[in-house]
Each structure stands twice: as C-alpha cells, then as structure tokens.
Symmetry: C2
Subunit: 346 residues, 2 copies
C-alpha cells in the first residue's frame, strides 16, 4: 500500500458535498438528489474510494462475516490437526456444505471464515473470535454428536446454527435430514426390486445420522418380515466400503441387496461386488445415500437416497442471517425430507 487510501472525507471534498451525503450515496439510504448522487459517484470513481470496513463495523457493530466452524474429533497432536483439515475436505459432503453456504451469503457479500475446532483451546478461540465481533455468528458442522461447542456458543449467547441435531438439547437452531425416512426409502426400494436377502453397510454408529438411517432401514424391513439383516459398520470412506462389502460377502455370499449409508461406501461395495463377479443390479442391487457427485461419476450410476446438502446448508445460512439481523429470536429446526433417486444400481 503505497499511498494512503482515500476516505469518505476525500470523496466529499472532491464532490463538493458533505461526508454524510457521500455516506448516504454509498449505502443507498434516503433520497439523495439524483444529480448530486451522480456527482458523488463520479468522485468515488475518480478517487478510487473503498469504504473502510473497520470503521464501518465499529459503528454498525456488524462484521458482515460469519464463521464456518468444522468441529471435529478430540485429538491434540499437531499432525492430527493437519490431517483433520485434509480429512474433512476429502469428504465430498463438506464441499457441498460450502457450496450451499457460499451460494446464500455471496450475493450478500459476506464471506465465511474457516475455523477448525477440535480441542478445548480451539473452541475457546472460536468463542473469542465471535465475542471480539470479528464474525457475527457461526455455522457449525460437527463430526460427532456430543460436540461441546454448541453448548458453549449457546451459553455465550452467540448466534449460531448447527448442521444436524445435537446429541443433548441446546437452544440453537439447526438443520437436519429425516435420516430414518431415508433408511426406509432404501429398504422399500430394495424390497420392490425383489430382494429377499438384503444387507447394509452402515455409517459409524457414533454418528446419530448413521443410527437413524440404520433404524429406518431395519424398521421397514422388519415390517415386511425380514427381522435379521446383516450389518457391517463403515466409516463413510471408500476404503471402509470396500472392507465392509468384503466382510459381508464372506459371511453372506447369497445376499442380493445392499444399502450403503453413503455413496462413497456404495461405490466401494460395487467395486467389490464386480470383482467377485456379481452383476449390479441383477445379482445384487445397491442403494447409496447422499446423491453426491460420485453417484454418477462412474458406472453403474447409483440409485441413492438424496440428501439435499446444498439446500440444507443454504437454509443454515438463512437461519443464521435471520438470527443475526434479529428477525428470528427463537431456536428453530428445519428438517428436510430425503428422496429416492432411481438409477441403475437398484
């Protein structure tokens, strides 16, 4: 920065009006004479003026910034922290969350600050950041249900919205999916395809969503007389899908349907099934979950339960925006309904 940046004062002098008038033009408030408006606009152009945000924030008490907090596993080691970031980003899920958030906030020219909270220290950092007024609120994506961050945020009275319902009730708004219904949809699809020996690769049982999907799947099957369903637990990664499918096939070589709790694991399942000579969907039908990019990136295109992550993230953003503006004061929850997307694999 060589020369001093022009201020409102400079523009005012240049345009021959007062500071207040320039401010009014910049912020588009009240009626300012069109002629003067044009005059000011030209002066802004000439001086290359850009309003100083710190000064504005100081008086408006708004940062016009939100924190996007990825709250993760408890692990203090330095290496684990780096790995955490990499791992979070590896999941296609997170990219969709970002896309949804950015989609909502960008037109309002607020940009998210990326923060990680996987230790007590980093959680305090998030709190301090918000209390300092550097961000007006937080969007929290937790990787495990008993994350302490939401309670801290609520306790400090800071605006925040969560992705997924927290394990213990917290007076904060959240957005979630009816995972149980999703599991049911998958079961019904498999049943409709004539599967009689379905199995499932569920997500990590420490995650509430995994349990719900599994419960929905089992429940629907039980209602149709299939009480015992082989279950293998995966970790939402491709590799875990590979491993789970291998195990399932070893114990139940005659299975004719698989519900994987996300598309990545479904992909892994397909790969193993094909390697073992099973045709999809003729011999084994496969249903995924999420409807992420990988569902259609390869053959066979996956029949899957759609989780509208982008829409959900946009809704989080909308809720947070309302909380910040004070347009909404009570914690609210918005639960989205999943939808079955029929493709080749089942």
């Amino acid at each position: 920065m060589s020369r001093q940046a022009p201020t409102l004062e400079d523009v005012a002098r240049e345009a021959g009006v007062s500071r207040a008038t320039v401010s009014r033009v910049v912020n588009g408030v009240r009626n300012v004479d069109p002629a003067i408006q044009e005059l000011v606009r030209q002066a802004i152009e000439r001086t290359g003026y850009a309003p100083n945000r710190a000064a504005r924030s100081l008086v408006t008490r708004r940062a016009e910034t939100v924190a996007l907090v990825v709250s993760g596993a408890e692990d203090a080691s330095e290496a684990a922290q780096a790995a955490f970031a990499a791992r979070v980003f590896a999941d296609p899920f997170f990219g969709r969350v970002v896309a949804g958030i950015v989609g909502f906030f960008r037109p309002r020219s607020v940009h998210p600050v990326l923060m990680f909270a996987e230790s007590d220290a980093s959680r305090q950092e998030v709190l301090t950041y918000l209390r300092q007024g550097r961000a007006d609120g937080a969007l929290v994506v937790s990787s495990h249900a008993d994350d302490p961050l939401p309670a801290l945020l609520a306790g400090a009275g800071l605006p925040a919205v969560l992705f997924a319902r927290p394990a213990r009730p917290v007076p904060l708004s959240y957005v979630d999916l009816a995972h149980r219904d999703g599991g049911r949809l998958a079961a019904e699809r498999l049943l409709a395809r004539g599967c009689r020996r379905p199995a499932t690769i569920c997500g990590p049982l420490a995650v509430a969503a995994s349990q719900e999907r599994l419960a929905g799947f089992r429940g629907a099957l039980a209602r149709r007389g299939l009480a015992h369903v082989p279950v293998a637990e995966g970790g939402f990664t491709l590799d875990s899908g590979l491993a789970a499918m291998t195990g399932l096939l070893a114990d139940h070589p005659d299975l004719d349907g698989v519900f994987a709790a996300n598309d990545l694991m479904a992909r892994g399942a397909c790969q193993i099934l094909r390697e073992r000579g099973r045709r999809i969907p003729e011999d084994v039908a496969v249903v995924g979950f999420d409807d992420s990019a990988v569902a259609v990136s390869r053959s066979p295109h996956l029949t899957t339960v759609r989780q509208p992550v982008e829409d959900m993230a946009a809704e989080m953003a909308r809720l947070l925006d309302e909380h910040i503006r004070g347009a909404r004061t009570e914690p609210t929850s918005v639960v989205f309904e999943p939808e079955l997307i029929a493709r080749e694999s089942a």
Copy 2:
C-alpha cells in the same frame, strides 16, 4: 447479544487505572508495574472483556485476516458456481493446502476467509474486499495458468502470494514445485524396474504443471532411447484415470509401466489394470504423483512422486505474512523439490 459488551473503559474503571494502561497490558507492551498488571488482569477476568477488533483494526490498519482465494474456470452459470466449490473440495489437494495454511496462521490467530473467483464480478469482489481492509492479503490457488486475478492484485499493489508460477510474469511471490524433476524421477523409477514400454496418463495440458511433469518424464525416457511414449490426457480425477487407462490398454496392450500425473488417476489406473488381470507391479509398474492420502488408502500402496503440498502452503503463508508485515518487499519464488516415495506399485 443481550447486554452491551464491556469496553476498555469499563475494565479501566474496574481496575482503577486508565484506558491506556489496560491497553498496554492487553497488548503486552512497555513496562507496566507487575502489581498493576495483575490488577488489570483480574479486572479483565471479572468483566469478561474481549477487545473489539473493529476498533483496533481501525487504528492499526490491520485486519489480522487473510483471504484464501480459489480462482477457477470461467463459467458464469449459477449452478456451475456451486459445482465449482464442490469440485474444488473434492480434490484431496485442496484439503492439504488448507491444512498447510491453517497450520501456519492459526498459532498467530489469523484465520482465512474463503473466497471463490471464477468470474470478473467475483474477482472484483476479491479486490474490493482487500481494498476495504477486510483482509491484509491474499493466498491464491488458481486452477488454470492464465488466471487474470494475480495481475489485478499486483496492479492494485495488494499483498498476495500464488500457488504455482503464473503463465505470464506477475510481480508477485509464488511457491511452486519442480514438476519437471518429478516427471524425471517417475521415469527413472520405471526404468530402474526394468520397464521397456512405459506409458503415461498426464494431467490436463491446460495446466502448466501437467506439461512440466510430462516433459520431465518424456525427457528422461528419451535420454534412455525411448523416444515415443504413449500419452493419455486425464483430468486429475479418478474417473479420468479409469478412462485414460482403458484407452491406453486398448492401444498398447503390452505396456509394462504407467506414470500417472496424480495419485487419484494412478488409483484409477490400478483398478483397470487389475480388472484386466494385470499384476502390479509384476506385469505393469505404476507410479503416481503427489503422495496424497489415497496413495496408501488402498492396496497396492502407490510408489509416487511426493509433492509436499502442506509445506508449500505453509511457505505461501509465511511469505504472505512477511509481505504484509513489510519484512519482505520484493516478489520471491520458492521452488520445492519433489521426492520419490517407493512403495509397492513400482
């Protein structure tokens, strides 16, 4: 925010000292009587004071924030923008970049603001953001070499550091890898394993790094008398690796070595090779590039050319920090050397 946040004034009153003294304690400058220091510290504790960043920024002219700009393909459609974010995040590469940057900046309690620049409008937004003083500088990761953003940044005199050398010279610091050497290392490894009919799956040729890796690979082979090498162009994705390998095998069923320009494509190549009954590395040796998480996530563990992305990103952060602090004024480039990591696949 129910009650008004406490200010420096409040703390000063509480401690029975002046505002300036509290400020000095908070910022740890000059000699303050230890007794008073303790007094102030207690007052801060009691009031729950958190310094207002806007006020501080206003006078220090520092935002203590940097922009992490992902600069991408030219595409104006709304849907493409959302997809862009998702795509960027899907690449394991980006997660490593974030990890490196966060690793450097977090101890200094500066957090990155995530911005996307894939249109003229969004590029202007980035510029305005910086000119408004909302961020002190930018870290730019471009997906294509002829990105106009670096030139804009340099033209505006804004501190910025790039990942990878820009296509046309720009007076900005950057961090890069000696891609050519990486290609050479891959070639030498394949040669050392006794490969006589190597092929390569290169990255998108619009990306300079892809060209360099290819040139290095070809050059080393040519020096050993292998002038003609089958080349298939991929897109750095798993699927493109699948497709490229399929094509390569169709045209050159007798190939005995493959160099893929990243690990994801190498993974794809391995998958196809195995499906076609080739043993790795006995029948066909495979060398990847990057040494990302996928290199060891599945069998066979990939022999690969390591790109120390985290270190490179941390170096970007360090350079930017120096530019911002004024400790470095001249644009500087730091080029990292790749390293061959020998594992099972070659």
